[in-house]
């Protein structure tokens, strides 16, 4: 079953057509990586899929439920607030710069949304948060504040925060771009672990080697369209000169 389906997504900012016509889908347990140069529209896809931005045109479907459908004129029409609120629980998003809540402790960062949004009890929320922290090796940081953590630790907390809501899938928006190579490794390890557990994920990344190892499928984007889509083997053995050049710059 498709967890997420995007059909003919189009999005412009002013005169700039950032997403021209993109369709993609992710099956349960699948890991899809999106690569491509800066400004190619990778992040915008995630922002539209997570409804931080509204698409101009196209369909957005989670688990068969439409969050947005096209009307007769080909414009996206979003479902009712109530339906969207429910569909929000299907996914989590991990940001490039973490966006933890600085005034909350690590534990509260993870516990608060399940309590405030999913309305689960305090004890259950704390249990859930602690087991996630344990899993991510941050148990002893539960009482710390985000500013006391390294970038890698902050990003792990933000992954735990997203997981605490028990989403069906996770989006990662360049999760290691704000981290140095050493810290990058610890985040990639976490994502690999999630992949092993068959977490459905879409990852926007510049870590080519990582995308190659981890992904079931890779999409190469440029100028708002999908230039090529395929298995890591297919993408890394492509004849497309542009993709070769792009990957070559990273892999060296």
């Amino acid at each position: 079953m498709n967890i997420l389906e995007i059909n003919h997504m189009k999005k412009a900012f002013g005169d700039l057509q950032v997403i021209k016509d993109i369709s993609l889908s992710v099956k349960e347990g699948e890991v899809l990586s999106i690569i491509g140069p800066s400004g190619s529209g990778k992040s915008t896809i995630l922002r539209c899929a997570t409804m931080l931005e509204k698409m101009d045109s196209g369909e957005l479907i989670y688990l068969g439920e439409a969050a947005a459908r096209n009307n007769g004129e080909g414009k996206s029409v979003y479902s009712s607030k109530k339906d969207l609120k429910r569909m929000h629980q299907y996914f989590g998003l991990v940001f490039q710069n973490f966006n933890l809540f600085p005034h909350y402790s690590v534990l509260k960062n993870i516990m608060d949304a399940p309590m405030a949004v999913s309305k689960i009890g305090k004890e259950e929320a704390e249990e859930r948060a602690m087991s996630l922290l344990k899993k991510l090796g941050l148990e002893e940081k539960a009482k710390a504040y985000p500013c006391q953590l390294s970038g890698g630790q902050q990003q792990r907390v933000s992954i735990a925060r997203a997981l605490a809501l028990q989403p069906k899938m996770l989006f990662f928006d360049e999760p290691t771009s704000a981290l140095d190579p050493e810290l990058t490794g610890e985040i990639l390890k976490v994502i690999k672990e999630l992949a092993k557990e068959k977490m459905t994920m879409i990852i926007v990344t510049h870590e080519m080697q990582f995308a190659r190892e981890l992904s079931d499928r890779i999409i190469f984007m440029e100028n708002g369209v999908i230039q090529e889509e395929g298995s890591p083997e297919q993408i890394f053995a492509t004849d497309n000169a542009r993709i070769k050049e792009f990957i070559g710059k990273f892999v060296g």
Binding site: T50, M51, L52, K85, H88, Q89, F91, G92, L93, F95, N97, N99, L100, F101, P102, H103, D112, A113, A116, V117, S118, Y145, P146, C147, S158, R161, A162, L165
Partner: protein, 216 residues
Amino acid sequence: MSLDFMFFELGKGFITTVEIFILTLLFSLPLGLLISFGRMSKHFILRLITKFYISVMRGTPLMLQLIVVYFGPYYIFGAQLGRSYRFAAVIIAFSLNYAAYFAEIYRSGIESMPIGQYEAAKVLGYTKVQTFLKIILPQVIKRILPAITNETITLVKDTSLAFVLSIVEMFTTAKQIAASETTIMPLMVAGLFYYIFNLVVALGMEQIEKKLNYYR
């Protein structure tokens, strides 16, 4: 003139000063937040109205505003509100005036918040109200505290303007004693009272700032 008498009289005036101070803060701090919402609203009309309000409140003397609030009901509606309205008029005028300043302070704090905080809250499913109350406002308070302290200290000194509506607060008392005893001593003592009051206010605010310093 006995010193006891002077301190006793100034003390009575001081109570009125503190009353004006506390009541004004009590009303103007929440009102300022509401006005800042209007000032940042998506609705053009609401934005225009609050912008005009702030510009008038900041652009005209507080003394004049006190007079307008006190005499306004009579001139506009012919309402006879009597002398007991004087104190209420002082609180209303002070609150309306200070709310305008506070509104701009709130706005500066709210607009300085990184958009990522809103986006993280939205993706996690927080409602708009939850996002503001749980995520944004606590961080805004930390950011605007120094500016609020400034305004609060100014308010302590501004309370002396209540004399315009012949409310007998501390400075009025000091002037009366000074005139009848032909000495500036009471004014100096009043000055000392204001200074100590403000010292306490500043120290209190510093404590709150320290308390909020547990995060960056």
